[in-house]
Structures are given as C-alpha cells and as structure tokens.
C-alpha cells in the first residue's frame, strides 16, 4: 500500500509518495494552481501515481498541507462575518492592545479587523471575574440581533463574551438561539474555540475562525470531489499549525488551526527523519527563496506557542513555535547609502529571481553569491530544468558590491553570505538562548532549497557540532505530512493557588479535557490502542502574566506528582529566566491536554550499498571559494550515487535535484543508513559507525 502527501506552496505543489511496506519514497513537483489549488492536487496525484506505476486503489492515506487559510487572511477574502459580544465591548476587536505597529514609522497602519464595525453587535450580558453571572443573556434580544444580521448578507458569526472561559453559559444560550433560528450560518463560539483567559486574544482567534469557516468548507468539499474524480477513495487529512493532521470535518469546524500550518509539516518531517537517525534535540532550519523558518525540538517534541499572530492578528491556538526570518536565497544584497552591506528583506523571488536567471533582475541575491563562490553548479539548477549564467552573477556582484567596497568579487560574495548567516544566527538565538537552551546541545537539521548551502557555516557560527541533511531536503514538508499524528489540543483555564491545590482538583481539570479528546479521537476513527494524551499545566508566580509549561504525568495525579510539578516549575523558571524563588507563591493558570491519534509510522528505506570511499559518487571537480581557505579545487558528488559511507572529507559539494550541500574545509560527513548526510561541523569527533 502507499501513502501520498501533497503540500501546496506559493510556487510549487510538492507530492511525496511513500511505499508503506518498504519505506521507499518518491517525490514530484508541479506548478501550483492558485486560482484553485485542488486542480494541481488532482493532477499531481494522477501524474505521480502514473509515473511510478501505482494503481490508485493502493492509496491508503492522503495527507494535504494547504495555505488556503493563510492566503484568505492576507488577501482579505474570507466570509462576511459578524460578531456578537458583551455590551460595551464592540470595539475591543479594533482597539486590541492599543499599540501601534511601528515605533518610528508613522506611515505604518494597524491590521484591518476581519469584522467591520457595523457588523459588531452587543448584547446586554455580563459574567464576573469569579465566574458568576451578573446579567443573564436575554433570548429576545439575541433573536432580534440575529434577525437584523440575517438581512445583511452575513455568512458567519463569532460569539465572544467576557469571562466565558470561566462560565460559558451566556455564550451557550446565544449558540442555542443561532442553532434554532439560523442553523445554516457558520458559527464559532469563544468558549469552544479557545476557553482561555485574555479576552482580546480569545476574541481574535474566534473571529479568525469564523472568517475562515465558510470558504474553508467550500475548498475542502471541492477538494474531496476533485480527488474522488481521479479515483482516490480515502478521505484526506489536513495539516494543522500544531504539526498534526485532522479529518476534513474537524478542519471545517476549526480552520483557524490551519492558519499557520505551512512550516509545521516540515518540522514534523525533520523530527521524523532525525529521530530515525538517533537525534532527539534538533533545530530545524528551513531556508527557502524569500524566507527562512527555524524551530526548536527538544526530546523529539517541537516547542509550542500560543502567542503567534496571523498577519498581525493574534491567534491563541497552540502552534509549533516557528520563527520566520525575512531572508532566503532570493534576498537582495545592496550597499546602503551610508556604506553597510544589507541583505533583504526585499526579495527577487522566483521571478525575476537571481541575476543568473537573466530575467531582468540586476541586483545580486544570495543565490548569486553562492554561484560566484562556485557553491552552486554554475551551469544549471533544479537538475537541469533551469539554465543559468553565473557570469551574470559575477558581473553584478562586481559592479554592485565588490567595486564600491574595494573588495574582490569573491570577498564581496562571501560578505553577502556572512551577513545573511548573521541574520539567521540572530533568529536561532531567539529560539534557543532566550529560552535557556544552549545551541551547541542541538543538531541542526537543514532543508528547503537553500538550507543545505548555508547550514554547516551557520552551525559553526552558533557552535553547533552536528548538521543533518535529509535525503530530499526540498520535499521534507510533504514527507512530514505522511508521518504526522492526528492531533488536537484542549485547554481549560483554572486559576488555582498551588498551596491550596489538591490532586483531585488537578484531576478534575484534566480528566474532562481527556474525555473530550477521547470523544474527538473516536470521531476521527482512531482505535483505542492508538490514542495517547500529553497533558501539561501552565504555572506562574502569582502576579506574573507569563506561564511556563510543566508536564502532568499520565494517569491520575497524586500528591507526589503535585510536589514534582512544583519542582519542575522551579527548574523551568530557572531555565527560562535564570532564577527562581522557592518561597514566592505559585499558581496554576491553564491545563492543556493534547489528544493524539498515533499514525502508523512507515519505516524509512535503508541504503543497501556500502562504500568505503566516496570516489564512486564523484561526478565533477570545480573551484569553490571558502573564507577560510580561498579558492580550492573540490570534488562534486552526486547525492543519488551514494551508498552508506563512513567518511567523506570537505571541502566538497554534494549536488542533487532539489538542493546543494556545501561541506567546508576541515569538516566531514558520513552517509548514514537512511541516506542522511551527518556533517561534523568542527571536523573532530567520530563518525556514526564508530560512535
């Protein structure tokens, strides 16, 4: 049987086909069809199956990553949405946190709200800070509001009241009214979408969900039809921002969960590959054409956050904490008016692309710098699909950078790489050192088209010893789709002082979340033996407003567990903030339970051939410039010709269809059993076989 994963990006749609028995996988790429993403999906499915001679009946799984939700928000093409909220708080959505987006640039605007003011309705109700209801919702008033909205062409509703996370009763009454009198309208209620405190973030998340709902539903039904037409019989699963997947019906209920799902599949792919190679603590480094995404994985589990924004709008659902940097292979290098070499944030993208493409761009980009240095094949990229002219890169680098700075062309190109790497290093510091981790304790997993070009130098910059380059760096997202678990997170806010907390209280908070999760997993057809729960408490010192996550042990919590949680909180505080105070009062804030339906993980294919030396993989030699050695003649290897190999010395270049790996002088790599390149960035230590 086979599993297929289809990841739709802005330029390309990537398809990965995996043989569940052998673990072998195949990749295919075609242009995205942005007017209707499902077109490329259907064609990609058909063409890939045909190419590898796999009958469509052999498909047992269909995974799909989509940017439909993200694009809908960027382009403001979601549904006409109305809001029902507490009297006096219609404008909360617009006031937000009352901050301006830029300290010094007075021309920058706040993001426009997803619900216009005329469609933000108030009802006279109020729940208090202790959860008691001061004013109960009046059904007649709600019905009046609904009938007014019906006349205005509204397609979806968001309901959010103050303190509904403590007591959802008033929201429930409104929900009931909607069900009775307007069942066809799409509706999200804040106490269901995100029963967590801090009203603006809860409101914003609920509104995003409603804004996305109706169009997401249409998209998914259309997708279902399309893939049925090409004969696919299984129901698709959709990638979520938390790195998991969900059925289509769950996705229709909570599309906000997909709003930043783009980079999450890649992280899951990286975790999967790295785990198989024996690495649990990794930094994922996905460098593409216009931006770079980095994230931190500890013990095989990605770091999560609830503080991310979608195009400036807060979304409080848990997501993989992916940090984006506005720099990639297409970032433009220029000398600013006062003499500093800047790289990005402007990008030449794929069109016109690097100067070498000869499509009209005359400003050198990062890719041109790599060409000048001989790091990228100077004749063609993408396995020959794209002809390029490295001489153009050279001329542009000379004219725009080298001559004005009085440097050689190579030194200028190296400068571009150093600057872009320092931007990346700053981003990686954000996700490691600021959270109390030491980068040198991690393995860098590099992917995306440009990641393997920069990874080893970047690792050296950060003091990272080991770099892992997966077999198909350009297709890691699609692979991630095939290995992601079914996942949904449930949250309950309960502010409990630690000193007064009993094990029963913790269990009372967590068990209902697990029951809810169980019901959901059942609805996703996950058999009981494949269900798993990961429970955490979010704790803080009284008076703080940032919480730290502490693991809740599986099963019923007892007093010993409770004691341990406090110790864990102290440890986490020390790790994150450099100190802890054993005497200050601590409180519980949120309880989260992640319901996980484990997907059968395919075994990765193993290389059968074993090479003592890499000479059989050499396809060429060329001059490559390195800062540490100047121009050196290097062997160029064809990645597909490698078997397992204990040691390949740098400097050298490894080429493959979708990427190029640079191995600098005084470093070396091993090709492991799954075909990963395991690079030793400091040239010391032992290879995987000997370790």
């Amino acid at each position: 049987m086979y599993r297929i994963g289809i990841d739709v990006g802005g330029t390309f749609t990537d398809v990965t086909l995996l043989n569940s028995e052998t673990g072998a996988y195949y990749t295919y790429k075609l242009s995205s069809t942005l007017h209707d993403q499902s077109e490329a999906i259907a064609n990609g499915t058909k063409e890939t199956l045909a190419l590898y001679g796999v009958p469509v009946e052999q498909l047992e799984y269909f995974g799909h990553g989509t940017t439909v939700a993200t694009n809908m928000i960027i382009e403001r093409k979601g549904a006409k949405t109305a809001l029902i909220t507490t009297k006096g708080f219609r404008d909360l959505l617009e006031i937000g946190r009352q901050t301006r987006p830029s300290l010094y640039d007075i021309m920058e605007d706040k993001p426009e709200t997803l619900v216009r003011r005329a469609l933000r309705c108030e009802v006279d109700e109020r729940t208090m800070a202790d959860g008691t209801i001061l004013r109960k919702v009046n059904r007649d008033e709600v019905l009046r509001v609904l009938s007014q909205l019906k006349g205005k062409g509204v397609e979806s509703l968001a309901v959010c009241f103050l303190f509904s996370f403590l007591n959802p009763e008033n929201e429930r009454i409104v929900e009931q009214c909607i069900k009775e009198t307007w069942p066809e309208v799409y509706c999200s209620v804040s106490s269901t979408i995100l029963p967590e405190f801090r009203e603006f973030e809860r409101l914003s998340t609920t509104v995003i969900n409603s804004y996305l709902g109706p169009r997401m539903k249409m998209y998914i039904h259309n997708l279902q039809d399309r893939i049925r037409q090409v004969g696919v019989r299984v129901e698709p699963y959709i990638t979520q921002s938390n790195g998991g997947v969900m059925s289509i019906s769950s996705t229709i209920q909570t599309p906000v969960q997909t709003a930043l799902s783009g980079p999450s599949a890649g992280v899951m792919g990286a975790i999967y590959i790295a785990k198989a190679a024996g690495f649990q603590d990794i930094i994922t480094y996905d460098m593409g054409g216009t931006s770079t995404d980095v994230s931190l994985v500890k013990g095989g589990i990605a770091e999560y956050t609830t503080k991310r924004k979608v195009c400036g709008l807060p979304s409080g659902v848990p997501m993989i904490d992916v940090h984006a940097v506005g720099a990639g292979g297409g970032s433009i290098a220029h000398i600013d008016n006062a003499g500093a070499l800047k790289v990005g944030p402007e990008s030449a993208g794929a069109n016109p692309g690097p100067v070498a493409y000869n499509l009209g761009n005359e400003q050198p980009v990062v890719t041109d710098a790599n060409l000048v240095l001989g790091r990228i094949n100077p004749h063609y990229v993408l396995g020959g699909r794209l002809k390029i002219d490295a001489q153009l890169s050279r001329a542009a680098m000379k004219k725009q950078i080298a001559d004005p700075m009085g440097l050689s062309v190579e030194a200028a190109a190296q400068g571009v790489i150093s600057v872009v790497n320092s931007n990346m290093a700053r981003a990686i510091r954000v996700i490691t050192v600021e959270k109390g981790h030491n980068p040198s304790d991690f393995t860098l997993v590099a992917y995306g088209g440009a990641g393997p070009l920069h990874a080893v130098h970047l690792a050296q910059e950060m003091g990272i010893r080991t770099v892992l380059i997966p077999p198909a760096p350009g297709a890691l997202c699609a692979l991630g789709l095939l290995t992601a678990d079914i996942k949904k997170s449930y949250v309950k806010t309960a502010l409990i002082p630690y000193d007064q907390a009993t094990p029963e209280q913790i269990n009372q908070a967590v068990l209902p979340l697990m029951e809810e999760g169980s019901r959901w997993l059942a609805s996703e057809n996950v058999p009981e033996q494949r269900r798993q729960f990961h429970n955490v408490a979010e704790m803080r010192y009284v008076g703080q407003n940032y919480e730290l996550q502490v693991e809740i042990p599986a099963g019923l919590v007892d007093q010993a567990d409770l004691d341990r949680m406090k110790e864990d909180f102290f440890r986490a505080h020390e790790m994150n903030y450099g100190y802890y105070n054993p005497n200050a009062p601590v409180q519980f804030v949120n309880f989260r339970s992640e319901a996980i339906g484990q997907v059968q993980k395919p075994r990765l294919a193993e290389l059968t051939e074993h090479m003592e030396t890499p000479s059989g993989a050499v396809i060429d030699h060329r001059d490559v410039y390195f800062e540490e050695s100047g121009l050196v003649r290097c062997p160029v290897y064809d990645r597909s010709k490698f078997g397992r190999c204990p040691r390949v010395d740098g400097p050298c270049i490894v080429e493959q269809m979708d990427s190029t790996t640079v191995i600098p002088p005084n470093t070396w790599f091993e090709v492991d059993i799954h075909g990963n390149l395991i690079v030793n960035a400091f040239g010391d230590g032992k290879g995987g076989d000997e370790a």
Partner: protein, 568 residues
C-alpha cells in the same frame, strides 16, 4: 583598524541581538504586569565612554532614560572603583541620568582582559517608588522630594555580591515591595545575560575589532542621518502648542520650538520657553533629548539604527531653569505629557518643510490612572495602574490610527480579564469615540473611552493627563480632534469633570471613573475628502450624521441614502 561594511553589519547584528536577548530576559522574568504585559522597559549596550551602541527599546521615552546614566556613574566612581561583577543602580533625573523616579536603571560594566570594554544597562518602570501618592507619578507634586526615593548611581552589586543594605533601603521606601524585589531581580538577570554575551563577542573577534566596530557603528549612523538631512531644504521653522496646566494652579502653558535645518545639521532651540513650574510637568534634559531624538528620527529617517551616532547631527539648545530642560529640585514625575508635546511640536515645525513625512497633532498625553486601596476580599493593599491610548494624527495620504499610543510610549493595555481577576474593579465599556478624530481630507484617528467601576470599597486614584483644554491640532486645513475628558460618577447626580492632573481623588464604592482620551487632528480640507470615505465613516459610526453635515458638507438628501451606523 578599518571596519568594512560587512563586519559592520555582522557585528552590528550581534549587538542588536544582545540587546534583544536582554529585553526578553527582563520582560519574561519581571513580576509586575507593567513590565511584563506593557513592556515598560528597555535594554541597551554602550561603549566604554557611554555612547549608546544598540538599544532594544519598546518605548522611545527610554532613549532618554539611559542617556546620561553611564556618564553619571563615571562622575561618581573612579576607574579603580569599578570592578568586574559590579552593578550600579540609579533613578535620579538630576544625578542619575534618569527622566523621572519610577524608571529605575541598572548598569553593569563589561570587563575583558582587565579593561572596561562596554556597559550593558536596562531600565524598567516600577509601579511605585514611594513618595506622596501610590504610583509615585502625581502630576501635582511641587518638588522632586515628594516624588519618591531618589537614587544616585550606587553599587547594588559589588564584585558579584548583592549589596543587601542598599536593596533593603530601596525596598523599604516603596509600596508593595515584594513586587519591586521581583522586578529588580529580573533587571539583574537581564544584565548578567548581557555581560556574558558581550564577553563572548570579545572572545570571538578580539577587543580591538569590537571597539573599532562600535566606533564605526556610531559613524555609520551619523553618516546616515546627515545624508537624509541634506535632502531637506535649509530654513527656520517655529511651532507652538499648549499644556493644560502645571497641576497646581497655573496654565495653560505655552511651549514652542524653533527648528533650524542647515545643510547636514538640525538644531532645535527651546530657550524661548517659560521657566520651570511648580507642578510636576517639568522636563529634565535627558527626557527633552529623548523627545527630540524620537521626533527627528521618525521624520527624517525611521530606519536609523538605534545607536547614539545620529545624535551628533542634532543640536539641542535650552537654558538652566527652563521648563524644557529643568533643574533641581523641579518636580518631574509627570514629564511624559510635556515630552509628548515636544514631539508634537517637532512634527508641527517640520510640517512646514516636509509635509509628506509628518502627521497632525495626536492625543499626545501619556494618560495614566493609578488606583490605590485595600482589596475588600484579601485585605491587602494594592496599586493598580493603567495607561490609555487615543487618536494618532492624520497623514498626507491616509487617516490617522485610532486608539493607539503615540510618540514617546507604546505600552499595551492590561487585558480586562487579567485586571478584573487581580483587582477589585470592573470595566463597563471600552469603546471608540465617534467624531473624536479631527475632520480633514484625511481624518484624525479616533480616541477611546473606558468606564471603570470600583467594587465593594472606596479607592483613591491619581490621574495624570493632558490635552483636555487644547485639542490636538490639524494640518493644512484639517480640523482639530476632540480633547480628552475625565469624569467621575457619569450619568448620576454627582457627575463631575476631574482636572487632568489631580491626585488623591476618592472614588466611592461602586462609583465609576470615565476616561475619555483625546482624538487627533485631521490633514487637509475636509471638503476635499473622498465621498466614499465619508460614507464608510458614517456606516461604521466613526463620524456622526451631524459631523457629516457640519464638517464635510454633506446634504440632508445625501445623508438619507446612507446606511448610517446604528440606524434602525
């Protein structure tokens, strides 16, 4: 040593990342909501002379709070009295480089190979540093001695050891001092992180390169501003504006600035301003400098790097004893509104020469309310502080922003649910104020109104606000926005308007305080406003039908056709 444009960018990036990392440590580990949620804090890296090399500020006001600090330390301690592991603490505007007492700064020298190569410092706004009112921020104090504990630069750490005597002395002078302790701990942790990272950079590149790079960063920034200034025609421009009052009886107070642009320099002259006043609205020199640097950077080139190099192209002239650049013992806790007015005036003066790079007058009051009382549930004394945004001025091609903090601050509001859980209060409404944005071809941003009800006990509040008498001005035919107004017990027989700088007002149990902020001025003649924008404003309720008729020349017939907000 020559630093090229590559090393400049690479090491410059590293310095910024150090300041950012310090900021993250401070924000995350602080105790008080003011630092954690509102990010009322800032971190910076200085060279050995005390020039700012990189600053991660969340608030432009803090550009000033750290300006004089290193200089004051060097004035008070000889080089042989400064050791690795030392940490200095200070807050005094006249002897510690600060801008008002609640901003407590902590600075650490960074030693490498036995020499000071740099300083790292951070500043945080503490909710209370003692003095006559909770919050230590009254606008109606008449001398700095009433405003709280004054700390000249003293060592809080000596060779890595906490000087507990000093800490105890400070804490005893503050209300709610366990929170002060938590916040100070966070400030210490922040500096330790900074010191360690600067040491790492020295190990990597060598001190000679690091020092040369610091110098080149300053030069780079200076070159950048001078190039931008060269694009602006030479000329002299004057602008005036008013403060409501000094809080203790006199006002309105007229302020003015004369800006001269000459080739690649800009000079701002404030000598022609009133003498310092009795109330607490005097602006210490470091805060005046911060307001000027903010204004010039925003207008001339917002992309200027956050270091002290560009300050060199800006000359500031004032005189001792002037309200702008005050001297001891002038009270200055409420200096922020004065700084806001200076920033507004820089925009006003520059509008005459670069009309496309400015905005009209903004809410420009860092309105703060400080409540103090005993929580009826816990019987514990609390201090609760809130700051409010308002309208931001219209620009040459678009409307102003609504409900934001402008100029010298950018602190976020406290989540309502967070506030109601922590303090015995309830928010009854939080809304935009229609018509508060000045009419214009482009409309000023709207202000907000917040009604806060005190629950189950009498509390006392102190208010610090401005722009309640002189509205935010429009530009080029744009009309002024609405001024702000603070009311107690609205809609009852006891309803009364409160002076903008009043401390110690009692709010009786279950009474309401209504804070309505100023809006902002419009830009261009309102009669030239695009019809579609007027219709949109009416549909959304940003303006009322009355304003459409009066300010924008709409006819009753036209109005009939529009689906006005709230029309049944």
């Amino acid at each position: 040593m020559k630093i090229d444009g590559i090393l400049l960018e690479v090491i410059g990036n590293t310095f910024m990342s150090i300041a950012e990392e310090m900021g993250a440590v401070l924000v995350k580990s602080a105790y008080s909501t003011n630092i954690k949620e509102r990010k009322d804090c800032s971190c910076a890296l200085f060279d050995a002379e005390g020039h700012t090399i990189a600053q991660a500020e969340h608030i432009p006001m803090h550009l000033g709070s750290l300006l004089g600090l290193i200089g004051e330390i060097k004035k008070n301690f000889t080089p042989d009295q400064i050791h690795p592991g030392d940490m200095f603490i200070a807050n005094d505007p006249y002897n510690g480089g600060g801008t008002h007492l609640p901003d407590i700064a902590v600075a650490s020298p960074v030693f490498y190979e036995g020499k000071v190569v740099a300083y790292v410092a951070n500043i945080a706004h503490h909710n209370d540093v003692g003095g006559r009112v909770p919050g230590s921020n009254a606008a109606d104090s008449d001398s700095i001695y009433a405003e709280g504990i004054r700390i000249p630069p003293v060592k809080i750490f000596q060779k890595g050891e906490l000087v507990e005597d000093i800490l105890n002395l400070i804490l005893l002078n503050c209300r709610v001092n366990h929170i002060r302790r938590g916040d100070l701990n966070a400030q210490f942790a922040c500096n330790r992180k900074g010191v360690q990272r600067v040491e790492d950079v020295c190990t990597r590149y060598g001190t000679a390169t690091v020092t040369a790079c610091m110098e080149e960063l300053l030069d780079y920034s200076e070159r950048k501003i001078r190039m931008a200034l060269a694009e602006i025609p030479n000329g002299v421009h004057t602008f005036s504006d008013y403060l409501d009052s000094d809080g203790v009886g006199s006002g309105p107070i007229k302020l003015s600035v004369t800006v001269e642009i000459k080739d690649q320099d800009i000079a701002l002259d404030f000598t022609d301003n009133p003498d310092q006043v009795k109330g607490a609205i005097n602006l210490p020199l470091s805060a005046l400098r911060a307001a000027v640097y903010y204004g010039v950077r925003s207008i001339v080139d917002p992309s200027l790097p956050a270091n002290g190099g560009y300050y060199r192209a800006i000359q500031i002239k004032t005189r001792p004893g002037c309200i702008l650049g005050c001297t001891e013992p002038a009270a200055c806790a409420g200096r922020s509104d004065t700084a806001q007015r200076v920033a507004d005036m820089v925009f006003g003066a520059m509008s005459q020469v670069v009309p496309h790079k400015v905005m009209a007058g903004s809410n420009s009051s860092i309105t703060g309310v400080y409540f103090g009382g005993v929580d009826p549930k816990t019987y514990e004394y609390y201090v609760y502080m809130e700051t409010f945004g308002g309208g931001s001025g219209a620009r040459f091609n678009k409307d102003g922003l609504s409900c934001v903090q402008v100029h010298m601050t950018n602190t976020s509001n406290l989540p309502i649910e967070s506030m109601e859980i922590e303090f015995p209060y309830m928010v009854e409404q939080y809304t935009l104020v229609p018509d508060s944005g000045g009419p214009g071809k482009f409309r000023g941003g709207l202000s907000m109104r917040k009604d806060i009800r005190v629950l189950g006990h009498d509390s006392q509040f102190t208010i610090k606000a401005d722009r309640q008498k002189t509205p935010p001005w429009g530009l080029f035919g744009g009309k002024p926005g609405l001024p702000g107004v603070i009311t107690i017990y609205p809609g009852t027989e006891e309803e009364a308007v409160i002076d903008s700088k009043k401390s110690g007002t009692t709010l009786k149990a279950n009474g309401v305080l209504r804070c309505q902020m100023p809006g902002a001025g419009g830009y261009g003649d309102p009669m030239e406003r695009d019809r579609a924008l007027i219709v949109h404003d009416l549909e959304e309720g940003y303006i009322t039908p009355e304003s459409a008729l009066r300010d924008y020349g709409l006819t009753e017939d036209e109005l009939e056709q529009i689906d006005v907000f709230g029309k049944a």
